[in-house]
Every structure is written in structure tokens, then in C-alpha cells.
């Protein structure tokens, strides 16, 4: 990598300079790197895997992978895009493996997904009925997402819950913006069909992202 290329990328995102220090063996720099990106990566893994503990393990693996690959870095765009790409690939591999294990057990691949632990955040609403309703919506969303093919799931999660633009998603996944749009469109069709099957679980709510 040329110094000029590195200079441009580092100017766009100082994270690359931090990663260069990691590559040089500065573990303190690595702690700063993890500290800076841990929240985003943990949340992304949790959205993709649907399990908090599994997401923590996955995020840790992603950071360790970044640590090992730091010396091979080719700075381009934003550092978080590179980290997101590693995280998405890692999580999708975990999901494929999860399905394979169920297939080898001669079980319906979706059986376990249905039984997967629901999100259980602390109750913030005072109204128990509202809390229950919110949990139902979350479970319905989780089910709809879990039934999506891996590529559509990644695009939907990045767009809806990470708030990434089509261009950013294309960068993370290494695909064209057209492919992002196409996957998102198909994902929306499937989600809509799932919501029509269980209309009571997903009440209408106003507001764009």
C-alpha cells in the first residue's frame, strides 16, 4: 500500500492510523480500537444472531480477526465498514452452521429458531400490557428476520436497525447498490407476507426510519 493511499484513507477516518498502530504491535491501540467500535459491533451481531451471549462471542471473534488481519490492511473508506464486513460474514457463517446442525439432526431448520430465546430487555414501560405488546412485536420481527435468506437478512438489518444507506450497505457486503435494493425489496415482500399471516402481532406504526 502506498503512503499516499494510506494518507488519504487516514484523513477520511483516523481509525486506519489506529489500526496501523495495532499492526505494529501496540496492544494499547487495539484496546482503544475495540473500545471505539464495540457498541456498534455488539449491536450488529445481536441483531443478526438474535442472541446476546452468542453476539458477544461473535463480536470478540470479529475483533480478534481484525487484530490478526491488521497487518494486511488496505485502507479504503471507513474502518467501521471493514469491521462490519468481517462481522456480517462471521455472523452469517454462524447462522449457516446453526442451520446445518439442525439439518443433520433431521429437524426442521426453523424449529429451533422458533424456540430461540426471546429478547428480554429490562421493562421500561410502566404499563404491563404495553410491555407485553412490545415483546410480541419484537418476537414477530425476530421470526420474520430469521426466515429470510442470509443475504436478505443482512441487508434488512443493516438498513433498518443500523441505519446504513444503500451505498454503505453495498460497501459492507461488497455488492452493488442495485443488488442491495433488490435484496431489500425481496426482504420487504417476505416480511409483508409474514406480517399478513400474523396481523395481530405487528400493529401499524407511523414514522420513517
Amino acid at each position: 500500500m502506498g503512503t499516499e493511499t494510506f494518507g488519504r484513507a487516514a484523513a477520511a477516518d483516523p481509525g486506519w492510523a489506529l489500526l496501523a498502530r495495532v499492526a505494529a504491535g501496540e496492544t494499547d491501540a487495539f484496546t482503544v480500537l475495540v473500545d471505539t467500535h464495540q457498541e456498534r459491533l455488539l449491536h450488529l451481531c445481536e441483531r443478526l444472531l438474535g442472541d446476546v451471549e452468542e453476539a458477544r462471542d461473535a463480536a470478540q471473534e470479529v475483533f480478534l480477526k481484525a487484530f490478526r488481519k491488521a497487518g494486511e490492511l488496505r485502507p479504503q473508506g471507513q474502518l467501521y465498514t471493514w469491521l462490519y464486513r468481517i462481522a456480517v460474514n462471521h455472523c452469517l457463517n454462524k447462522l449457516r452452521r446453526r442451520r446445518l446442525v439442525r439439518f443433520l439432526r433431521f429437524a426442521d431448520p426453523m424449529d429451533g429458531e422458533e424456540d430461540a430465546p426471546a429478547f428480554d430487555p429490562p421493562d421500561r414501560a410502566a404499563d404491563p400490557a404495553a410491555t407485553l405488546e412490545a415483546r410480541r412485536r419484537w418476537q414477530a420481527t425476530r421470526r420474520a428476520i430469521e426466515k429470510l435468506p442470509a443475504g436478505q437478512r443482512a441487508v434488512l438489518v443493516l438498513a433498518r436497525f443500523e441505519g446504513l444507506s444503500y451505498r454503505q450497505i453495498a460497501e459492507v457486503l461488497g455488492i452493488t447498490e442495485g443488488a442491495v435494493e433488490s435484496r431489500l425489496f425481496r426482504a420487504m415482500r417476505r416480511v409483508e407476507a409474514a406480517q399478513e399471516t400474523n396481523p395481530s402481532r405487528v400493529p401499524p406504526k407511523e414514522g420513517l426510519r
Binding site: 504491535g25 457498541e39 471493514w82 452469517l92 446442525v101 430487555p121 412485536r137 433498518r160 435494493e181
Partner: protein
């Protein structure tokens, strides 16, 4: 409603339309109730997707990850080898096992006595999760790990994947 129109509505919903196209489409939405209804449907689907707030970052997470990184950098292990090296080693090991099994069958050396076979059958029957055991085996783990490294190298997918729905 055709797919092109629906995709344009989706771009509007996601704030991805250029300003002039957005103005034009909003003008059409005021004049065409069918189009407005389609947008409302998309909006309902989109906003109906809700998940709870993500769990907080566990205390000391960054420090723990850094400690593991230090451990790894101080240890020379298979995990430090390039993915293709580990994949080749796993494949060679599998080939060796198959070759060994074939040779023992051919020579008849490893044919166990009937009572031993019966005991082995009982052990196998008491194993509750054979597939998990297979997948947790070190050879299989090595294979998966090697594939991970190839897939998660942070590189863009191959050209065939860039334009379609391969993922």
C-alpha cells in the same frame, strides 16, 4: 403496481431518491390514491419491524478482548496459520483417516471381535447428540475455522457475487 414503481416507493421511504425525483414522486402521490396506498403499505411493513434496545456493552469487554489478543500474539498455533494451510492440513488428515480405514478393511487387521463391536454399538446408542459431537470434533472445527478465515478475510466477495443475490 409494478416492481419498478414499488422499488421507487421503497427508495422514497428510505430517503434514497435524488431531490428532483422525490419532488416528482410526491406530486404523483398527491394525485394518485393507489400509489399513496402502496406507499402507506410499505411504510407500515417497515415501521412494523421493531426490535428491543440492544443489550448494553458488558463491563471490561474491550480489556478482555485485548487480553485475548495478547495471548494469541504470544502463542504460535494453528490458528495463526493462513486459512488455506489449515484447510489443506484438515483435508490431509481426513484423507489419512480414510486411507487408514480402507487399508485396515483390506488387510482385515482392524476388524474387532464381535463382543467389542457389540460394546461399541451400545456406546453409540447412548450418545444423545451425535451430530454435535461430529461438528465439535477438532478436525471439523479446524475445517470450519479455516473456512471462516477464508470467508471473513475482509475482502470483497468474488465478482459473481457482486451483482446478484448469492449471499
Amino acid at each position: 403496481m409494478n416492481r419498478v414503481m414499488e422499488m421507487e416507493l421503497m427508495r422514497l421511504l428510505h430517503g434514497e431518491l435524488p431531490p428532483d425525483q422525490e419532488r416528482a414522486l410526491r406530486g404523483r402521490l398527491e394525485r394518485e390514491p393507489g400509489l399513496a396506498a402502496a406507499l402507506a403499505r410499505l411504510q407500515k411493513t417497515w415501521s412494523g419491524l421493531e426490535l428491543p434496545p440492544a443489550a448494553p456493552v458488558p463491563l471490561g469487554f474491550a480489556q478482555r478482548v485485548a487480553a485475548r489478543a495478547r495471548e494469541q500474539s504470544a502463542t504460535v498455533s494453528w490458528s495463526a496459520a493462513p486459512g488455506w494451510v489449515r484447510a489443506a492440513a484438515a483435508a490431509a488428515l481426513a484423507f489419512g483417516i480414510l486411507l487408514g480405514a480402507g487399508a485396515s478393511r483390506w488387510t482385515g487387521l482392524a476388524e474387532p471381535a464381535p463382543e467389542v463391536q457389540a460394546q461399541a454399538g451400545q456406546v453409540a446408542a447412548t450418545t444423545s447428540e451425535p451430530t454435535d459431537a461430529l461438528l465439535d470434533d477438532s478436525l471439523a472445527a479446524s475445517y470450519w475455522s479455516a473456512l471462516d478465515d477464508i470467508d471473513e478475510s475482509g475482502e470483497a466477495p468474488s465478482a459473481g457475487e457482486t451483482g446478484g443475490d448469492a449471499l
